[in-house]
């Protein structure tokens, strides 16, 4: 799944408040005389009063960590605004006459962010591009976590090449490998042209036939890559159109990304 920051933000907020209530309760119960408490609570009180000191330390550390994570996930309106910008780019690019009957999920925009670690891949370290947001409301599920180590020739995917070379990368006219009986030569060609392994292609059966990766600088740093993928193989004109539109809206887009951790 793409990172659902709003959901995480809410969940972490609930955990944080639960821990805070637990720590206040611990403090209150610390000095309650055990023998005066109801029988059912006496064992719990004894345990709290015997282990109270480290519980306090543990709760304090947990609250600090969770609050710090929560602060990074706040401002869901920024994510909503970025999502709207992606949706607008998608609609603008694929609104042409011959495309107007296509479902929009055939042509998508995905925003990837650079992370040093990723627990969806092993080894977990070495640099990754992780999908954060995707245009539209469908096809949000993805296994697209690409490695971007320091060596450019070892990067994976169009997103990896765009990240390491800092160039806009376009690949069109890819063969159809989205079915179970895809031709072995096509799988090999697809893998070569998109900088992934043939195994990855066979496993994921990607349906996209064209890609464009645009490196997005925020404060001069490339931390984000905008990837456009389309099931239309000859989509050069569409990719160009999206690129031009991106240029006209990018200053606002970058302002939003500046506020994300």
């Amino acid at each position: 799944m793409l990172s659902d920051r709003q959901g995480w933000s809410k969940g972490i907020g609930i955990v944080s408040w639960t821990l805070k209530i637990a720590s206040v309760s611990t403090a209150t119960l610390w000095k309650v005389p055990v023998d005066k408490a109801p029988l059912a609570l006496q064992d719990v009180l004894r345990w709290i009063q015997g282990n109270g000191w480290w519980m306090f330390v543990a709760l304090a550390v947990l609250i600090l960590i969770i609050d710090s994570v929560a602060s990074k996930l706040r401002d869901p309106w920024i994510l909503n605004a970025v999502q709207e910008a992606l949706d607008e780019l998608q609609q603008h690019g694929f609104e042409g006459k011959e495309l107007k009957n296509d479902p929009l999920d055939l042509h998508r925009l995905t925003l990837f962010r650079h992370h040093r670690t990723c627990f969806r891949r092993y080894p977990f370290w070495g640099g990754f591009m992780v999908p954060v947001l995707r245009s539209g409301h469908l096809t949000k599920r993805t296994n697209a976590f690409f490695r971007v180590p320091d060596r450019a020739d070892q990067t994976e995917g169009i997103v990896g090449r765009a990240f390491r070379t800092a160039n806009t990368i376009k690949v069109t006219d890819l063969p159809d490998v989205g079915t179970d009986n895809a031709n072995a030569d096509d799988v090999m060609l697809y893998a070569e042209k998109t900088f992934v392994t043939p195994e990855w292609v066979r496993e994921n059966k990607p349906k996209a036939r064209s890609f464009m990766g645009i490196p997005v600088r925020v404060g001069g740093k490339i931390l984000w890559i905008l990837v456009v993928d389309s099931q239309k193989p000859d989509s050069e004109a569409i990719l160009k159109k999206i690129e031009r539109r991106y240029e006209t809206t990018a200053r606002n887009f970058v302002k939003l990304l500046e506020r994300l951790p």
């Binding site: 800092a166 806009t168 069109t172 900088f195 490196p215 600088r217 404060g219 001069g220 490339i222």
Partner: protein, 156 residues
């Protein structure tokens, strides 16, 4: 600082994709839109007593100064190493220039320095040299609007 208004530049026609061989695969690559200046401006900055030319990109970035030569300082992007601006020491330049040719000399100086930087970046194999090419093109496109003679005369 006191600089003029931003003057937009359109270098889209120069943004032609190149087909390169990458790991044995032909790939279409072109400069990221973030590496192409979208606007330029020039003006006298009394605080530092320099004529400043600035390039605007899709994102904002802080800069570090790098000495070009005795009359010129470059503003280089702290993270991206893009060319964000030029600071020209008019007084020093004027001392070595005939008055009537001053404006031309100044423009030529800026252009020449960018050329030198492009050359240096290219020679060092730096991947950001393409940005300097675009900065040079932006300056060429708007050179007449950037350094109006009356402002230069007032500045010195």
């Amino acid at each position: 600082m006191s600089t003029g208004n931003w003057i937009s530049v359109n270098l889209n026609s120069k943004l032609a994709p190149k087909t390169i061989l990458d790991r044995g695969v032909l790939v279409s690559v072109q400069a990221s839109p973030h590496d192409v200046p979208k606007a330029v401006r020039g003006g006298w900055d009394p605080a530092i007593q320099r004529f400043v030319i600035e390039f605007r990109y899709l994102d904002n970035e802080t800069y570090v100064k790098e000495r070009g030569d005795e009359n010129l300082t470059l503003r280089i992007g702290k993270n991206s190493h893009r060319l964000l601006g030029l600071e020209l020491d008019l007084k020093s330049l004027r001392a070595s220039t005939v008055a009537l040719e001053f404006t031309h000399a100044l423009r030529d100086k800026a252009m020449r320095e960018i050329e030198n930087v492009v050359q240096r970046r290219e020679n060092s194999g730096s991947s950001d040299s393409v940005n300097y090419e675009f900065a040079r093109m932006a300056l060429e496109q708007r050179r007449d609007n950037l350094m109006p003679e009356n402002e230069l005369a007032a500045a010195i």
